[in-house]
């Protein structure tokens, strides 16, 4: 029946019943009643017009939208009559659905949304591995890139890039932005064309080509006023006037780096052999259509096996360091680009999604219980409707309509909660998750929310609907109006739901507890230096204006000296690598007299750190052996090096490393050796949660003489009692006085640097604790509700017990025992569940076993305490039952 037909039929029915009333009234008037009395009497005789119409309409069969609309209207009317119940239900759902929506929008934006390139599934990140050095994912060198691109048969195109940072002069003051040096093939590989202008030509990636750049949409707008005329003009990039040849579309990026400037990666195919061993490129390949990553891996295996032969090998023994890719100690590695970008954040996000889903399930269980109790108090109405012929189907539909109205309203409010939560908890917080800019409430998220709303509505609405079986309805006929009706089975269902809630809450609590403990352990990791009252910022010297290494060293010396003049500054120094999380810059390193034995490491050092002489004193890194750098280590005096404990232990087991000599990779004079003068305590560089790698400290002042270059990019470190703001103005003033073109970047306290490094575990622990708290609160409220209802139900029984002399204490124990029994069962089930599932989070834990007894015990005690509070209130109420009043009830 179409809605239109239905409308007509509704009018017919109204008219039919009106005619009935009119006829009755007319006859009454004929019998002598007054017209008003007659109309009233006719109406009274007829009965409840609304219900009669309602039940009559039921006979028309299941209809379409109109029937649905009718149920919804009826449900809304019913709910409006119990605003308290409706408000609690909607609020609970809003929290549950809102939290789910917020987390799902993160999962959606980070994991599910495809990368913004055409056919992103074809894109593969190609890196390399050095199994013998323990490097699982390492860049490739330029020779490998050129050879791979030429010889592979699985990829239609391969591009190369590496990201760094440049100083860009624009209309405003110089800005430091992330840049990428990219091969001309990168854009065709990604399949994206510039919004304006063009991509690099191959010619522009050859040595001595005139400098060109592409700008990101974001930088173009923020620093160049969004003027299209910028294309073709020259801008200052790292001191070089560079022609802008194009603007990239909004949101274009590579590997979530936030690249703002694209520069050509200069490669000369003729000097391919000079590129070997310098691993710094990431490759992105586009698989040929129809070729899967797995097929490509198989196809590429022969290339890997014969690379050396194709390459012609090398007869020069000094070329020993050349890492031609092979199957043994230098493999290529292929990863789906999106999977690689998401990385380990994926698991964390799925864990959050699962946790928040549990919260919603608990909310559903609570609401199911509320509806069950409500259904029992509404028995009278239901019985009446059933008596008038409303079928069971109709009543089930009504229950579902009611729960769906609640859940959809909850979802609507939940969207607001999600919007707020997303900004407050995820986006405004440095969450340490990739692709955060892609997170938002998009159409997918809205569909998910709608599905969630309908799903939850059905789940918690079905419980009371299913209780409406034929037996309970027929029983009710006789019991209609009596409120002492106690259905043992209903009570069982309610108790089971409470146990389930408690169990889920306990599982969540254990998970949250484990992650919280992990986070706490992470914050207590010994970083290797004293980070209190320590500040840092980054300076990059443009290559063009600081071509001279001696000038570079001088600049940092100058900045440090002037900073140390500032009252309140104890000392200032500079280093190339910023702990606790810096990329590996491993390099082959010769160890004098080193004899490779099985089980001994390869001659390679994970981290090279260039530092100023007062580095160790400023950072307060203790020397374990030997001495620190000092005034005796001049720019031209014999080169010295300090190593970390890990290196000393690994390469000089059982000996004092001091006095031994090593030779850093890439050194000019291969006869020159650096003497180890000290062993410094390990400093975390590869991540707070990671094993410390081997590290050498080279003196920045000595690098021009012995290595032929000094780093352009240094992190200045200041130990000062000043506040960051007070320090900031001095820093800006001093840097500007030394070189006004240098932007001060990333000025933070070292504590903040560590906070950032722990952003993801903190984010995960924080959210899980919030979810677990909500879950426990919901479960406690659920326990309270069921217990309170049961006390109200048993008021008569309790009254009799008290009349018979039961003490208040006895009654209290009676109710408490009932509640705590449920909590206890819930606790056991929950702990069991936790044992089963915490293995899933084991890769997210640090220093804590997934079965950590302390966490399990603490959660158990905490949960029992909360449950006790939830039980005490109804128990106390039970003791206040007045036997006389209770017996007089009903």
């Amino acid at each position: 029946m179409s809605p239109k037909d239905r409308g007509a039929r509704n009018e017919d029915l109204d008219a039919e019943i009106q005619s009935h009333l009119d006829m009755d009234a007319r006859e009454r008037v004929a019998r002598g009643e007054s017209p008003d009395d007659a109309a009233a009497a006719a109406r009274k005789e007829f009965g409840n017009v609304g219900i009669v119409k309602d039940v009559t309409r039921d006979m028309w069969g299941v209809g379409g939208a109109d029937q649905l609309w009718r149920e919804v209207r009826y449900a809304v009317r019913t709910l409006v009559r119990s605003p308290g119940f409706a408000a609690i239900a909607i609020l609970t759902l809003a929290l549950g659905i809102g939290a789910n929506t917020a987390i799902f929008s993160v999962v959606n934006g980070v994991i599910l949304r495809p990368l913004p390139y055409p056919d992103p599934g074809q894109l593969v990140l190609i890196t390399s591995q050095f199994p013998t050095l323990g490097f699982d994912q390492f860049p490739v060198d330029a020779a490998e890139f050129l050879e791979f691109r030429e010889r592979n048969r699985s990829f239609s195109n391969v591009g190369a890039y590496f990201s760094t940072a440049v100083n860009v002069g624009g209309q405003s003051s110089p800005a430091r932005v992330t840049s990428a040096l990219a091969s001309a093939s990168l854009f065709p590989t990604l399949g994206v064309t510039p919004e304006a202008g063009r991509w690099f030509t191959d010619q522009e990636t050859r040595p001595n080509a005139s400098p060109v750049a592409l700008l990101s949409d974001e930088l173009w707008r923020s620093n160049f006023g969004g003027e299209r005329s910028i294309v073709g003009r020259k801008v200052d990039i790292d001191g070089v006037l560079t022609q802008v040849v194009g603007i990239m579309p909004k949101g274009f990026d590579i590997h979530d780096q936030g690249v703002r400037v694209w520069l050509p990666l200069t490669l000369d195919p003729d000097s391919i052999n000079s590129y070997r061993g310098g691993h710094y490129l990431n490759l992105v390949g586009r698989l040929k259509p129809g070729i899967s990553l797995a097929t490509a891996r198989v196809q590429l295996e022969p290339l890997l096996q014969h690379w050396r032969e194709i390459d012609g090998g090398s007869s020069d023994p000094t070329q020993n360091r050349v890492h031609t890719p092979n199957t043994k100690n230098h493999r290529l590695r292929y990863d789906d680009l999106l999977t690689d970008i998401v990385g380990s954040a994926g698991r964390a996000l799925w864990v959050l999604q699962a946790a928040v889903f549990l919260v919603l399930l608990i909310a559903c269980a609570n609401l199911a219980n509320l509806l069950l109790m409500r259904a029992e108090t509404r028995h009278k109405e239901l019985v009446l409707r059933a008596a008038l012929g409303a079928g069971r189907g109709r009543l089930v539909r009504q229950f579902l309509a009611e729960s769906l109205v609640l859940s959809v309203a909850g979802a609507a409010v939940g969207l607001l909660v999600a919007r707020w939560g997303l900004h407050a908890l995820v986006l405004s917080n440095n969450a340490g998750i990739p692709r955060a800019t892609r997170v938002g409430l998009d159409a997918h998220v809205l569909v998910y929310t709608l599905a969630l709303a309908l799903g939850t509505g059905v789940v918690f609405g079905l419980a009371p609907a299913l209780r409406l079986n034929a037996r309970s309805m027929s029983l009710s006929l006789r019991e209609a109006g009596s409120r002492t009706t106690s259905h043992a089975s209903a009570a069982r269902v309610r108790r089971a739901l409470v146990v389930l809630e408690m169990a889920m809450a306990v599982t969540l609590l254990v998970g949250a507890g484990l992650l919280l403990r992990s986070f706490e352990k992470l914050t207590r990791v010994d970083s290797g230096f004293d980070r209190s009252q320590l500040f840092t910022f980054n300076l990059v010297l443009p290559a063009a204006t600081y071509a001279d290494s001696v000038r570079r060293v001088a600049l940092f010396e100058q900045v440090d000296d002037q900073l140390e003049q500032v009252p309140g500054v104890q000392s200032a120094t500079a280093m190339s690598g910023l702990p606790p999380r810096r990329p590996v810059n491993a390099n082959d390193t010769r160890f004098e007299g080193y004899v490779a034995k099985p089980g001994m490491p390869q001659q390679n050092v994970d981290y090279y750190n260039y530092v100023m002489p007062n580095y160790f004193s400023t950072m307060r890194i203790p020397m374990v052996e030997g001495r620190s750098f000092g005034p005796m280590d001049g720019a031209k005096s014999p080169p010295v090096v300090i190593v970390n404990q890990t290196l000393a232990r690994l390469f000089y087991p059982g000996q004092n490393a001091v006095g031994h000599r090593i030779q850093p990779g890439g050194i000019v004079d291969t006869a020159q050796w650096f003497t180890i003068v000290g062993v410094a305590k390990d400093v975390k560089q590869g991540g707070v949660d990671a094993k410390t790698g081997t590290e050498i400290y080279l003196l920045d002042q000595q690098t021009p003489a012995y290595e032929g270059f000094a780093p352009r990019n240094m992190n200045v470190v200041v130990r000062s009692t000043l506040s960051r703001d007070a320090l900031a103005s001095s820093i800006r003033r001093i840097v500007a006085s030394v070189d006004p073109g240098l932007p001060v970047v990333g000025l933070r306290s070292m504590d903040e640097v560590f906070d950032d490094a722990l952003a993801r575990p903190r984010f995960l622990a924080e959210l899980l604790v919030i979810f677990a708290a909500v879950a426990l609160a919901l479960a406690a409220v659920g326990t309270y509700g069921v217990l309170a209802y049961s006390v109200a139900e048993r008021r008569r029984e309790i009254g009799i017990r008290m009349a018979l002399g039961a003490s208040e204490g006895g009654v209290l124990t009676l109710v408490l025992r009932q509640g705590m029994l449920l909590a206890g069962i819930g606790l056991l089930v929950g702990l069991g569940g936790a044992l089963a599932v915490t293995r899933v989070v084991s890769s997210l834990l640090f220093g804590v076993q997934p079965t950590d007894p302390a966490t399990f015990a603490a959660v158990g005690l905490f949960m029992l305490a909360v449950a006790l509070v939830a039980c005490v209130v109804p128990a106390l109420r039970a003791t206040r039952v007045d036997p006389l009043v209770a017996l007089r009830l009903d």
Binding site: D12, S19, M23, E45, N48, T56, W60, A387
Partner: protein, 120 residues
């Protein structure tokens, strides 16, 4: 509304037989709902009192089953009324229901008329 509680038991009594009574009443002539209530009361000498809350759902259910049909007509008072009439299918249904009812009432009657069973 005190009256509405009392019919609770009566509805149980009438369930199943209401259809039969409506169909039989329409055999005597087409009628609107109000008229049906009156004729049922009259013909049963006031014993059978059908509740409106049962009548209209029943009429619409029988209509859906195509045992009766309805049309709008003008009453003697020039009022638009919805008048029901029996369809051929309804006629057959009435025969079936009626024979069932007669079997049932005969059985019940015989049951009560029977002499007490002899004790073994």
């Amino acid at each position: 509304m005190a009256k509405r509680h009392a019919p609770l038991t009566r509805i149980e009594l009438l369930q199943g037989t209401l259809d039969l009574i409506i169909l039989q009443s329409l055999r005597w002539g087409n009628r609107h709902g109000y008229g049906l209530l009156q004729i049922i009361r009259t013909m049963s000498h006031g014993v059978l009192q059908v509740d409106t809350g049962s009548l209209y759902p029943a009429l619409h259910r029988l209509e859906k089953q195509r045992w009766i049909e309805a049309d709008w007509e003008l009453s003697e008072n020039n009022q638009r009324v919805r008048v029901y009439r029996l369809t051929p299918a309804g006629r057959k249904q009435l025969a079936v229901e009626r024979s069932k009812w007669e079997q049932f009432s005969t059985a019940v009657a015989e049951f009560f008329a029977a002499p007490p069973p002899e004790e073994a």
